[in-house]
Symmetry: C3
Subunit: 343 residues, 3 copies
């Protein structure tokens, strides 16, 4: 159990008193118990200081703490980052299968496992697969023939990596995600939808994290690619031949149609849709629920269905709020003009 | 095979003749065979009585059955509820693994199983897990360390409950759902998206039912919570630290971003999105495909993207239908005014 | 490795020189290496011919190839169809479990397997199941009691077919999909949401392909039905009692609510929503992200939220782009009329 001094040290700040207090966890001001550290990220929460049971708080530098607060307050530049740092001290270890191959796993003789790799029960590892050092495959993971997974990866239960997929190092994939299914491509041949073979693959670069029940399809040819450091939330759909740059953020239930391209650091809000063959430039952002049907320049922010530059979208929404009245106004104007014309 | 008399008894109504007819199932008027009970829930379907082969029908009280219908008609207050009651008589038992631990399951020695608990093949049960009496884990279910599942639950194939999750009694979770993955939280540290540890958990209260491929993320701290009696449809996304009250209905593919709060009895239509930190009050409803970006008061109905009070949304939609004409009208008005000004 | 002559033969066209060139794969003009065939599907790509390293190309008949291109060009009627044909020559075989039952599978004694059926490890096959000839169940597939799967099917890892489901021949279901969970149906009984039993089933007809993490619910009674030759993309939601005609295309993350009906050859774009009990006629199309809340006649195209005839939708969108200016114009008109009235 860390003391407040330990926490201050982890944050690189000074603890103004109370160094010996034992902290058992973090909680909001309203929910904190007498051994839980809390935090004030903005002025909106200051009033809750009067009633919180927290023995100490983290405070964002800009926030003014009232003089009535006499317990220790650790002032930090970035409350969210500080919370992340403190939470690491409390994070219980994720339970993992031990290093080695579980007797109830099925690992092909031609597969190569790195040192300390941990293969759980009911895992399938196909021919010529390479699994890096210290990589963990939880119960029920499937890794198809010729797939390569780097070092220090963690694949949670039931993740499916189909054959010939390439996964970098330090990649985390949460339970139930499927990487490398065929892309959705057919061509009507006069009698039926003829399947277009998808002979390509999927490349997941280093430091990517992928949520639960995410689908990333293999390419028609070449590769569907997720750039290093990109983070993908649950239930997202990444179509065949999509290219995602480094450090993108793709929020839950977003969908990218075939051959869409995201530059570096692109952010897609939840439930966003991106049309096939569309490009979003570096640092572009699409607000939640937007439908991106045209290319978006670097650093631009778009929103709406169809997605427009965010400012235009806001103007149209504001005008739309006035539209019912506008219909009435125009009708009145017509009457007045009729009256004027009769004069 | 129940007789019409058995069905009438189950419904607590009188069967006006035909008590001995054997009924083999239920079907719509158009599809019913000569041994299938059908139903008329509204006047819209009365015309189909002329041609149906059903030997008897359930009829909503308000519906006027024509005098030409001479077969038995069971009059009920609520046709939908009556159908549910009758269907129970025909429901074939769901096949389940037998009580005990399948030899192909992997159950930690420190796990505690209630009486008559049934653990299917390829199931993983971690350290210190507690499984209640009569709870059924179908093939391939994963239950992480320290997770607790109550009595009389049923987890369908491949459900994943990560570590330290708490599930009440009489909870049903359909195949492929994932409870307790890390929430989607990162903080840009200048070089990369630094992961915010999610040390919290998920609490699923009693009598909850969760569809297939649903994702419910664990909290940053404290718990993501689903209130008792709430029902969640397939492919829904429940973000970290979301709080869902009792008896809510969340329809397929809806998504709730982090720290959203639903009161009691809230209804979210299919594909609805709820922004992070937004609250919907008790009994509030969001229509299908709406994007809720502001708090919704109790009992209010909202719709649209962004979601507005439903009446306002309807007015705007009606006005929008007239907008192309309005543009033309305004152009004409401008011309007429120009003409008037010249006079 | 096929030669250009082999490829020309597969396409039924003549190779104008270069017949002996060995081709190792396909790639875009920009990405092709010196042994990869490329293609020009439209005039937009002609400029890339100047710099491509491809030793030969496929060319859509209408495209004008510049005289500066001196390497072989195979002229085809339909570039996409030709690409599909060529890719088949390069498609590496999908790795599959060998025919027979894996010793780590659990197959009920009363199940009947067709000749050369292949049952992988960790597969569960219930009582009285029938699996057709040459059908492949990959690792971790679950097939519930009394379910029937036809010949030449392929079920990828962790697919769940619940009990009493019927699957035709030549059906492909990708990893993680769940067929036959209970439909989402409850009826408030005054105290709680009472579950409506779903005693029906799901019927998947011949030649259907279903993506990853798709959910298709079982019917309240009778069957949820997917017509022959229909293709369903990842993460789609098909509610109870939905009827989908033959040769439909349902793109990723689309959702069909209960009892929706699609005729033959209907196309639903990505993230489309279809309200319960709505019918789309033969050949109807709903654009991506549309919300279909009213019946759509055969061959009609709809778009938008709510979905309108596509032309109307485009007109409204165009008018909406002008709405902010319209508000200003109307204000000016009001002032001008006031001025005129004062005269």
């Amino acid at each position: 159990m860390p003391s407040l001094a330990d926490i201050a040290a982890a944050l690189g700040v000074s603890a103004p008193g109370g160094e010996a207090i034992s902290i058992t966890g973090m909680a909001t001001l309203a929910e904190a118990g007498p051994t839980e550290l809390s935090f004030v990220g903005s002025d909106a929460y200051v009033s809750e200081l009067a009633t919180t049971r927290a023995p100490a708080i983290l405070v964002q530098k800009r926030v003014k703490v009232p003089t009535t607060w006499t317990r220790p307050a650790l002032v930090v530049d970035d409350a969210d980052l500080a919370i992340a740092t403190v939470l690491k001290l409390f994070a219980p270890p994720v339970p993992r299968p031990p290093a080695g191959i579980d007797p109830a796993a099925r690992v092909a003789g031609s597969a190569a496992l790195g040192e300390q790799a941990a293969i759980g029960p009911f895992v399938f590892v196909g021919e010529r697969v390479r699994i890096g050092a210290r990589t963990i495959l939880h119960s029920g993971v499937y890794v198809g023939d010729d797939t390569v997974v780097g070092d220090d990866c963690e694949l949670f239960p039931h993740v499916v990596l189909r054959e010939r997929v390439s996964v970098g190092s330090r990649v985390v994939i949460h339970a139930g995600s499927v990487i490398g299914s065929d892309g959705f491509g057919y061509r009507w041949d006069g009698r039926r939808h003829a399947k277009i073979p998808h002979v390509g693959t999927v490349v997941i670069e280093d430091d990517v994290e992928i949520g639960s029940c995410v689908c990333i399809d293999r390419a028609k040819f070449s590769a569907t690619r997720v750039g290093r450091g990109t983070k993908i939330d649950n239930l997202a759909q990444i179509g065949h031949n999509v290219t995602i740059g480094p450090h993108c953020i793709i929020v839950g239930q977003a969908g990218l149609a075939g051959s869409a391209r995201l530059g570096a650091g692109v952010v897609l809000g939840g439930q966003t849709a991106v049309r096939d063959h569309i490009t979003l430039g570096d640092g572009a952002m699409a607000a939640a629920c937007s439908a991106v049907a045209e290319d978006v320049p670097a650093k631009a922010i778009v929103s709406g269905t169809p997605a427009l530059p965010h400012r235009q979208s806001l103007r149209e929404q504001a005008a739309l709020r006035r539209l019912p009245d506008l219909v009435t106004q125009v009708r009145k104007l017509q009457e007045e003009i009729e009256a004027l014309k009769k004069k």
